[in-house]
Structures are given as structure tokens and as C-alpha cells.
Symmetry: C2
Subunit: 154 residues, 2 copies
């Protein structure tokens, strides 16, 4: 079964390397009752529909499908709750693992988080020097929650 195992951390921006080649991401969520999330994401010019189950520990089931860009634009506009999440994502390779560094914009401007996807909850990895406090279990940092409670209003 497709699974997502992810850990999420805050970032010390002063220690970041030079950032290049961002994925420009806009994403929205269908308002659900919380047992599953339904996300529409446009990353650069590619679009994806992603369903995720409830997390057990660090693990969630995840089902992701490419969709036509035009459909995604319509779904973001018609089916999602505004505002959308807007962020720039940078992929940073560090000692064998790829980190996803998200610099949020709009109502979440100023928020920077780094995520690492693992194959196993107990998989070891080395933290880059610019990674600080872990927030994997803090629901405020979930993207779906950043729509209703953006960083600017914390």
C-alpha cells in the first residue's frame, strides 16, 4: 500500500545554503471531516490530486495521481476553500537524503519548514545544520490547517 512517512522540522534560515530551482507550488484542499485529506496541487506546470488517510504515528496512507493542469485550476477555484497555500519548494540533498524545504508565501509568509520522507519510521538520517526543532506532531504546521489558521495569525 502507498504510505507516506514524513518528519517535519523548523529551519534556521541564516544557515541555509544558496537556494536554486524552486518548485512554485499552489495547493488547496477539499473541506473534509478530517478523517482524510484531499489535496489539489499545481507544482510548476504539473498538477496532482492526492488523497491521504489519517496519520498513525509518522505514517499516513497516500494516493497520488497526475491530473490535467486545466482540471486542477478548476478544482482549486471551484472545490477548495480559499485562500490557497502558496509556497516555493527547494530540494536539498544532504548525506543521502533529499530534504524538501518549503518557503511559504501569502498569509503564511515567513514560515519555513523542512521535510524528509523516510522508508521506515525508524530510518536513521543526519540532520543538516540548518534544521532545528521537530514539528512532526504539531497540527498547526499541517498545510491543510495553514489555510484556516495561517502563520500570520498565530
Amino acid at each position: 500500500m502507498p504510505k507516506e512517512i514524513e518528519r517535519k522540522f523548523l529551519v534556521n534560515p541564516e544557515l541555509l545554503p544558496v537556494l536554486e530551482n524552486p518548485h512554485v507550488i499552489r495547493q488547496g484542499y477539499i473541506p473534509t471531516q478530517g478523517t482524510a485529506t484531499v489535496r489539489i496541487r499545481i507544482s510548476n506546470n504539473k498538477a496532482f490530486l492526492t488523497l491521504k488517510g489519517r496519520a498513525t504515528g509518522l505514517t499516513r496512507s497516500e494516493f497520488e495521481y497526475p491530473v490535467p493542469l486545466e482540471d486542477a485550476e478548476k478544482m482549486l477555484q471551484e472545490l477548495c476553500v480559499p485562500p490557497l497555500i502558496e509556497k516555493k519548494r527547494y530540494l536539498i540533498l544532504y548525506r543521502g537524503h533529499t530534504w524538501e524545504l518549503d518557503l511559504f508565501e501569502g498569509d503564511n509568509a515567513g514560515l519555513i519548514v523542512a521535510e524528509i520522507e523516510l522508508d521506515d519510521e525508524n530510518e536513521a538520517f543526519e540532520k543538516p545544520p540548518w534544521v532545528s526543532q521537530e514539528v512532526s506532531f504539531d497540527p498547526r504546521y499541517r498545510n491543510a490547517n495553514l489555510i484556516t489558521h495561517p502563520y500570520s495569525r498565530w
Copy 2:
């Protein structure tokens, strides 16, 4: 934009023709807050993920994508609210239009509805003799509602 324009009717089962070649359908819904529906359907051995917007009159926006059967089974089990909708669907051609006749099973056994998809809300069509009262605007007959309020409990 993809649109679904649909009218739904009750059926007089005594007047139905002989029914052949059913599509055996199982479908479930991600619990949403009602502004959009997210459906996972397995019809015979094909699976689809379908998002629909809120209806305006008879019209809803609809986005449908084929998904792997194995994914659909997992999504039905992990992301949807039980019980699933189970029904047999028969396609009946009548005077240039194809009708979808749904014979529900499980908690909705006994319920039979016929649907016709139109290209335009004002499109004319002839009603077959076995079609009776229109229920297009009765929310009880929406499949998503038949999960929480099945026909056996009306």
C-alpha cells in the same frame, strides 16, 4: 469545464424490460463538509476517483479519473465511511438517450432509480414507460446520503 447534468427518476419495476449485463458497482465517499463530494467507485473491474462540486440546478462540475483497482480497494477500506453503496447498473437505450438504471443492494435494497445525463438542462428527452416520479431535487436519493440514511431506514 467538465459538467454533469443529470435527471433522476423513480421506476415502476413491473414495466421494466429484461435486464442484462449489469455493471456491478461498489462505491464509497470521503466524508466532506458538503461543498464537494469525493467518490471512489469500482464498476466491474475498473476503478475511478470522482470529484463533484455543489449542484446549481441540475448541473454540477465533475472531474473523473481512472485509478488502479488496488488503490481503489484500499481507499474504500481506509478513507471512506462504511457501509459502501452497492448496486447493479443497467444501461438502457431508449429513443436516442441512454438511461442508467440502478438497482441498489445491501442497506438500500429495494431502491431502484433511473438517471439520464443531458448535454443541456433544457435538452428534451422521451421518458420510457417504466419511469415514474422525478427525484432530481430530493437529497435523500443522492448516493452520498444513502450511506448515512439508507433506504431501509426511511
